[in-house]
Point group: C2
Chain length 240, copies 2
């Protein structure tokens, strides 16, 4: 821990999922961590917030901001925030990838809200970077997970904060396959067993939503067993 | 009202202040209105929300979204959201303008949160534009009130929403002096008497915060009496 205090602070958005957990592990190699979490009224909000707290405990981070946004439920338009829209269940990765359109789990313009929270906090606490675990490839095709989106957000931060504020937007896993993220997490000793990715279940992961299926494939490709519990892993068996 | 239904919808961010009220009046000439308001825990939140509802009633708009964000109080760093930081009081417009630095009433990266709410809602309801009453000149020097900020946000919306979503960010008063905004509002019959601008008081406007002082000057330059009640107009008397 020597020298830890001299590092610049970074705000890391930690959803409680695998990608953001590994992103925190990466950020920690360069920065003092400040961890931010957003409960946006999604189906598995309680579980994800527990995962956030567990990851923050694991890394001994006291600088935490847990925010609750109620308006995504008011606005709706996504299977994650509107109970009337079902979360799609698939039998395989092929089925996930065959769904070419943006899926109903897309939460309109969601990541802008998360980044805005992180940047406001970063500006107040003097953090020099905001990390987010967005993944462009090998994910669900959400428009706000692509590199050009983060380049645009970087420009927004540059022109929209105090002249002396310098905050970079960092997306260290954006170009990685999920299996590479698993491997990098394992190398860095990230607590993947504490993370939660399932879109719809909070006790045992469902194993059939897009998020579970992509996660299961990632562990499979990395040659590891996912340490969390699943109700079924049938999506995995049919994959590739 | 004939033909009203054929207009494209626009989401207008209505704070309850003068600039956003006139912005709504302008948007209404081209669009069917959907009005969004954000209570971000600012000192005068209750008063501003009442002003929003009154303006929406005045225009007969049923499509309303009132959102509450608690995290600005968690994050702090501004006189508007942290009671421990005093709102500056000035004797004149000169004093407002002499405060060259970004004032303590700057709420870090605030407008990104507001725009994110408006864009998410616009995407779900199929609105084609988001209007915000930002004013660059003749305002308090906030970085997120300048044209380049809205150009950057437009790019973010373009890359960060569904491929078939087309939402333009509209800032019709950004280049206007406040006195021009008053005049335009009066021409359009905007209900300026229902608006609220004071940063710190909710019964009678204080007359000495930056927002009151700039508003009083605007009415003075427009040759009109501001219809709302002030505790003092001494900032006005000393101006120019």
């Amino acid at each position: 821990m020597n020298g830890e205090k001299e590092k610049d602070k970074a705000v890391v958005l930690v959803s409680g999922g695998m990608d953001s957990c590994v992103t925190a592990a990466i950020a920690r190699t360069k920065h003092e961590l400040a961890l931010a979490h957003v409960n946006y009224g999604q189906r598995t909000a309680a579980k994800e917030q527990l995962a956030f707290e567990a990851i923050a405990d694991f890394y001994g981070v006291s600088h935490r901001l847990a925010v609750k946004l109620d308006h995504f439920r008011q606005i709706g338009g996504s299977a994650l925030t509107d109970e009337r829209i079902a979360v799609p269940e698939r039998g395989s990765v092929r089925e996930v990838e065959a769904a070419l359109e943006i899926p109903v789990t897309y939460v309109p313009f969601r990541n802008a809200h998360f980044l805005a929270v992180a940047v406001s906090w970063a500006e107040v606490i003097g953090a020099r970077a905001v990390y987010i675990g967005a993944v462009a490839e090998d994910s669900s095709g959400y428009p706000d997970c692509r590199p050009e989106y983060y380049r645009a957000f970087q420009e927004l931060v540059k022109v929209g904060t105090r002249p002396d504020t310098r905050i970079t937007i960092e997306t260290p896993v954006i170009g990685k396959r999920k299996s590479e993220i698993v491997k990098r997490g394992l190398e860095l000793g990230a607590p993947l067993e504490l993370t939660w990715s399932c879109y719809q279940a909070e006790e045992e992961a469902c194993g059939v939503c897009d998020s579970c299926i992509l996660r299961l494939r990632a562990f499979s490709e990395a040659g590891r067993q996912d340490p969390i519990r699943y109700r079924t892993r049938r999506g995995l068996k049919a994959s590739n």
